[in-house]
């Protein structure tokens, strides 16, 4: 009896030959992880959002009150609107910052490219609180900028102290490295010779960018936008540290529901609304990526 035959006839060998079982063994750990730590909490949030809270207790009574409040009360709608505006603004500012940085590193970084990209993400080696505090120490009333100004007898810049502008600066600082990375990775696969072709064909540098660089790297850019937009939409810590009294965003209020006020059901409903809004934005951006037009064919250099 050959070795192959031996494996085929032994009980364990027979199990191994079963393709479905093998597939299950390989996918099970990942599937369990996703179920346990992503789908289950998400589903519980969705379930809670249809319940109600009373004196810090969740009561399993199905109702739509949470959503009715959130979608009719002007306070909540205002905060949702503010968060959306903030997320759009931070994404756009990050884009203006990240594209040139990623472009310069990808095109001129040479053998230091990887180090340079990692350096843009260096602040990630510390925690979010530390980073936000660091920003506070630059923008705040006794921060680097305003201290310097007052030392030289000038007026401090009010707009940098505990305002939405400060929040925006902090959020750009926090999330822009993700966008740099996404755009950089996309540009790594971009054939810069195509720009020379465009120029010989009569395109000025700016036109060549619009006609060639931008569309061919739009997918990476879109991913970068999502990576900045979604966390900004849900941000709570940054506006709390930097935004001041009028700087509260949807995420700040949401965090409140799970803390001070203890209205878990309402908080869950807010979470679902944020999730839905993020999903809409992601789907919208995904639709804007035309795979055939992205140059993403898997074979073209």
């Amino acid at each position: 009896m050959s070795q192959v035959e031996a494996v085929r006839t032994s009980p364990l060998g027979r199990l191994w030959m079963n393709r479905n079982l093998r597939f299950a063994c390989l996918t099970l750990p990942g599937a369990i992880f996703i179920l346990l730590f992503l789908v289950a909490p998400l589903m519980s949030i969705v379930v809670f959002s249809f319940w109600r809270t009373e004196s810090y207790n969740l009561i399993a009574e199905w109702n739509l009150d949470n959503y009715r409040v959130l979608l009719s009360d002007p306070t909540y709608l205002t905060f949702l609107w503010r968060s959306t505006v903030m997320a759009v603004a931070v994404s756009l500012i990050s884009l203006v910052y990240a594209y040139p940085v990623a472009y310069l590193i990808a095109k001129h970084g040479g053998r230091y490219r990887l180090i340079l990209v990692l350096l843009t993400a260096a602040p990630f080696l510390t925690g979010i609180i530390l980073r936000v505090t660091a920003i506070q120490h630059i923008l705040g009333p006794i921060g680097l900028i305003n201290m310097a100004l007052t030392t030289f007898g000038m007026e401090p810049v009010e707009v940098l102290m505990y305002s939405n502008v400060a929040s925006a600066i902090g959020l750009v600082y926090l999330w822009a490295p993700f966008m740099v990375l996404a755009i950089y990775l996309s540009l790594l696969n971009f054939n810069f010779e195509l720009l020379e072709v465009a120029k010989v064909c009569g395109a000025r540098p700016w036109r060549a960018f619009v006609e060639v660089t931008w569309p061919l790297n739009w997918m990476g850019t879109a991913i970068g936008i999502v990576l900045v937009f979604v966390p900004t939409l849900a941000s709570s810590v940054t506006p709390r540290f930097l935004g001041g009294v009028d700087g509260a965003l949807y995420g700040t209020i949401l965090a409140h529901q799970f803390g001070a006020t203890g209205t878990w059901a309402l908080g869950s409903a807010m979470g679902v609304i944020l999730f839905a809004l993020s999903l809409i934005v992601i789907l919208g951006i995904w639709r804007a990526v035309n795979l055939r037009r992205s140059g993403f064919t898997g074979e073209e250099a």
Partner: protein, 363 residues
């Protein structure tokens, strides 16, 4: 040659310590097919990029139709260019790729449509307008690249090894077509290649470049028949290169010792007895006859050898012969010559003027 459309005047370009292009001057006329031939690293591509405006020369001028364009950026030069690796825009259809130069020039939609149709028709791509580059074969991509280069009716078309990535069969076909486009359009083509066969097939004139320097410029037959340097003799055509030493000089003819054999060839200018020389004899200029009954022509180099192998190539054959010294020579001739079978004794002979002799380059 009619008046020059493209003039290169004393172009110099260095990258660091290496001179990529060293004092190159060329004039190309209105309806010329001009090839820049050289090995990789010879500076031919750099020279083409200087013409296109993708590199700025350190010195010298580029003139197109008499106008100095040396300092103009590429997009202001209105040249056509066909790149190696095709370099089509992968996110654009065939029609969009070809129409790109027209779009950049901002021509009217009517003119754009007309020019686009003309260019697609010229390269036989009608019907493939809506395809994307990844849906095309290599030959079709090459045609798109050509159409894109020609569509705006440029005053000069630059081609950078455009056929290097095609298989042999397709290359032969495209060589003939590219030449046809050039004749039909009546504009100069500047064609960069390392393939001497391509250059010989298509060109009117050609230049051989080596280490940034023009070795020789002239009609292709002149370069083939009368190379002026050892490099050109080695690079153009298939020649046997023999290293010898001058033993005696009888007027214009030198007697050269090559491993105990006597070769006859024109004396290189300024050479004297005892000088080392490179002796080139093109394989098709050698006559090969069976040893028995071989005559002895006056003024011919005559070598006895043994036929090792015959390599049949179709219209001709390469005869590989071994000399008593162990050296091998290649002789090209009609296939199936009478009495020539492997391991038979043969005699090779050729007149003195068939060979090209140059003072040996320092090794």
């Amino acid at each position: 040659m009619t008046e020059a459309v493209l003039q290169l005047d004393d172009i110099v370009k260095s990258f660091g310590a290496t001179k990529a292009v060293d004092r190159v001057s060329i004039d190309v006329g209105r309806d010329e097919f001009f090839s820049l031939l050289g090995p990789s690293g010879s500076g031919k591509t750099t020279l083409l990029r200087i013409i296109a405006g993708l590199e700025t020369p350190d010195r010298g001028r580029v003139l197109i139709n008499g106008e100095d364009v040396t300092r103009l950026p590429p997009y202001a030069r209105r040249l056509g260019m066909v790149f190696q690796d095709f370099l089509l825009f992968p996110h654009r259809t065939v029609a969009e790729n070809v129409a790109f130069p027209l779009k950049m020039q901002g021509v009217s939609p009517a003119v754009l449509k007309q020019q686009l149709e003309w260019a697609l028709d010229l390269v036989h791509l009608t019907g493939l307008e809506e395809r994307f580059p990844h849906q095309l074969s290599g030959g079709q991509k090459q045609r798109v690249a050509l159409a894109r280069g020609l569509v705006s009716r440029p005053s000069v078309l630059l081609l950078d090894e455009p056929l290097a990535n095609l298989d042999r069969e397709l290359r032969k076909e495209m060589e003939i077509e590219v030449r046809r486009f050039q004749i039909d359009l009546g504009i100069p083509f500047i064609y960069v290649t390392h393939n001497q066969e391509e250059a010989l097939t298509m060109s009117d004139r050609m230049a051989v470049m080596n280490r940034g320097v023009l070795e020789q410029v002239g009609p292709k037959l002149e370069l083939y028949e009368r190379p002026r340097t050892g490099f050109v003799a080695a690079f153009v055509g298939s020649a046997n290169r023999l290293h010898g030493e001058i033993r005696g000089i009888d007027g214009a003819v030198a007697r050269i010792d090559w491993g105990g054999n006597e070769l006859l060839g024109a004396t290189p200018s300024g050479a004297g007895v005892g000088d080392r020389v490179d002796y080139f004899i093109k394989s098709e200029r050698i006559a090969i006859v069976p040893a028995e009954g071989a005559g002895n022509a006056e003024g011919h180099t005559r070598l006895a050898a043994r036929l090792r192998d015959v390599i049949f190539k179709g219209q001709y054959a390469d005869y590989i012969v071994t000399l008593p010294s162990g050296s091998e020579l290649v002789v090209s001739g009609p296939p199936a010559l009478d009495g020539l079978t492997p391991r038979s004794d043969v005699v090779l002979h050729w007149p003195a003027e068939a060979a090209d002799v140059f003072a040996a380059e320092a090794p």
